[in-house]
Symmetry: C2
Subunit: 88 residues, 2 copies
């Protein structure tokens, strides 16, 4: 079991509207980053930055696939947390 400190680091990495939306989009069709970026209408560097924050927190992993990079959710619990929140 992770320490409170580690647990709160995970939470912190989720606790941002843009990042919550990114996670939600990754939950569905998966990894198409540039599509997410277009749909969210944010600069590419901003999206990339948020992705990095979540990757550093261990929430996401990435694998390159030719010129694109595919992100996916590593910590299943994160999905549950978002589901709970959406019912609040």
């Amino acid at each position: 079991m992770k320490s409170l400190d580690e647990q709160s680091r995970i939470l912190k990495a989720i606790a941002h509207p843009h990042r919550m939306e990114i996670i939600r989009r990754l939950k569905g069709d998966g990894c198409n980053v540039s599509e997410i970026q277009k749909n969210m209408g944010l600069p590419q560097s901003t999206i990339s930055h948020h992705l990095l924050i979540m990757k550093n927190a261990g929430i996401l992993s990435s694998r390159r696939n030719g010129t694109t990079v595919c992100y996916s959710i590593q910590i299943e619990e994160v999905k549950e947390i978002l589901d709970i929140l959406s019912g609040v």
Copy 2:
């Protein structure tokens, strides 16, 4: 259903080790603030500050009871989230 912005505000208010510990203590025996403060070994103003942050986010409510103030958890989902996290 709350907006992503509101949802992330709730998460943000939880995403701190001290605050997670406070919530955990409130889950059990409830509201005795000064006891929590002693157990956590933090200055009273620091605890009070964290309590206010969570109250402003709507997570906690408080009612005065003579000279003491009793805090309790308002958003049940917060407990679930902590439970999920503790299993990560």
